[in-house]
């Protein structure tokens, strides 16, 4: 295994990043539907979803066993499982892989939790960077309102309660998200994310997202060549 793999693979990797409530999941879903319906080879993967590891993560969160370091490592394990079994082989096979959150989510959250920024980057060194990373940027207040309106029950780690920023989950969530947002802004520069103004209506945003994908990725190469059985 080489550090930060550079060799070209036939597939293309598109990731979306942003705060909870930034609208990124809606957009990547729309991208997935669009590409599927147009007959492209597309694969979708989301953060924290490895069947194997999720069980442990769930238990750790429920029983509040996780420290910033084990939180970082267990999410890195989850990602590695999806990377080794799905993302990398599918890129090799020439698919368009869509990732709802990628390593930058860890870079932002784990740094906000006080982990060493260099260390976090290094434990993820096996993962290649996406061909295109969208950053759904929305004012912090707007993202907070979207989440706090729809779902007042915040989970312990989601609200950053492990950081002891405040005893009130809502207050803690706001303070923690502010830290994450600050990390994201620095990452957006460092990794040249494509910023999408996320304060607009979904269809308006989606037109821009589609255009960018068409400009950056040679889509016809990714059509299915076999007929459906």
């Amino acid at each position: 295994m080489m550090m930060i793999p550079q060799s070209a693979l036939p597939g293309r990797l598109i990731a979306v990043e942003g705060l909870d409530g930034s609208g990124k999941s809606t957009q990547i879903y729309l991208v997935k539907r669009w590409l599927e319906l147009e007959g492209y080879k597309v694969f979708f993967t989301e953060w924290n979803s490895s069947l194997l590891v999720k069980q442990a993560t769930k238990k750790g969160k429920k029983r509040q066993l996780l420290t910033p370091t084990t939180f970082a490592l267990i999410h890195c394990t989850d990602f590695a499982d999806r990377y080794e079994r799905e993302i990398l082989p599918l890129l090799s096979a020439g698919h368009i892989v869509l990732a709802d959150r990628y390593v930058y989510t860890a870079f932002a959250r784990d740094a906000a939790r006080g982990c060493d920024r260099e260390w976090i980057r290094k434990i993820y060194a096996y993962a290649r960077h996406p061909d295109l990373t969208f950053f759904f940027d929305v004012p912090l207040e707007t993202a907070l309102n979207r989440i706090l309106e729809g779902r007042p029950q915040l989970k312990y780690y989601e609200a950053g309660m492990d950081q002891h920023l405040s005893h009130d989950p809502v207050e803690s969530f706001k303070l923690f998200q502010a830290k994450v947002y600050k990390e994201y802004l620095a990452l957006a520069k460092e990794y040249r994310f494509v910023k999408i103004d996320s304060s607009r209506a979904p269809d308006e945003m989606h037109r821009e997202v589609r255009q960018l994908i068409q400009d950056r990725i040679e889509l016809p190469r990714y059509k299915w060549r076999t007929r459906q059985a």
Partner: protein
């Protein structure tokens, strides 16, 4: 007990000042069948008889992921990077919740294998050595590492005498193609020994000849540890 300042391999754990860790961290490394567990037990008895409080850690013993790791191992479905990180998570959980608190309370921590086994396993599975090192840069540098050296054929004989079955992973069945389990066990263990020999240069292990009677090995270990604790006179030999 004499105290020397603890250090991390790299940047360590957020919020943990190694200067506050007053106990001793003693690691026993060696393959299955090298007598590791026997000697940990003997050392523990000996230390406790002398009034030292001890704590024990080892692989796959974390509250966080031990069950899941065991399950995953049964299915042979883990990729090498995932497997490596899963073990790292297991290690980190024990480091923060067992090793660090015990050392803070001046306990003697006996580690039945440490990061070196995980690093050797990763490297023989052709993962990048630098990467594995970085992952484990959170770990504390032990006060002593004893590597129980036993020839692979002797290891196999000891295991067969006890279990009549070699372990799938300890036989490198996931990376060696062809060959029966015994042949692969010998081959895999030789690969591991050669990684340990390389690490010995870097990390300064104390190599202990494990191919002797438990009594002799134990006496050897006790003498060395008494030296580390700095007051051997108080310890019954």
């Amino acid at each position: 007990m004499t105290t020397t300042a603890k250090r991390f391999f790299g940047q360590g754990l957020p919020g943990v000042d190694p200067a506050t860790l007053r106990g001793k961290l003693i690691v026993i490394e060696g393959s299955d069948g090298s007598g590791r567990t026997t000697h940990i037990n003997l050392l523990r008895d000996w230390l406790e008889r002398s009034g030292y409080a001890t704590e024990e850690v080892g692989l796959k013993r974390s509250m966080l992921v031990s069950e899941e790791l065991e399950q995953a191992k049964q299915g042979n479905t883990l990729g090498p990077i995932t497997q490596s990180l899963f073990y790292a998570t297991d290690f980190a959980d024990q480091l923060e919740n067992k090793i660090v608190p015990a050392l803070r309370s001046s306990f003697i921590v006996l580690a039945d294998r440490y990061i070196y086994t995980m690093m050797a396993r990763a490297i023989v599975r052709r993962l990048d050595g630098e990467w594995v090192k970085q992952v484990y840069s959170i770990a504390l540098i032990p006060d002593a590492v004893f590597y129980l050296e036993v020839p692979p054929k002797v290891l196999a004989e000891r295991i067969y005498r006890k279990n009549q079955l070699l372990d799938y992973w300890e036989s490198g069945m996931d990376i060696l193609r062809g060959g029966d389990m015994y042949t692969n066990f010998i081959k895999y263990q030789r690969m591991m020994v050669s990684e340990f020999k390389k690490m010995q240069q870097t990390y300064g292990f104390d190599v202990v000849n494990g191919n002797r009677s438990p009594k002799l090995v134990s006496k050897d270990l006790q003498a060395k540890i008494a030296g580390i604790l700095g007051n051997g006179a108080e310890l019954g030999q």
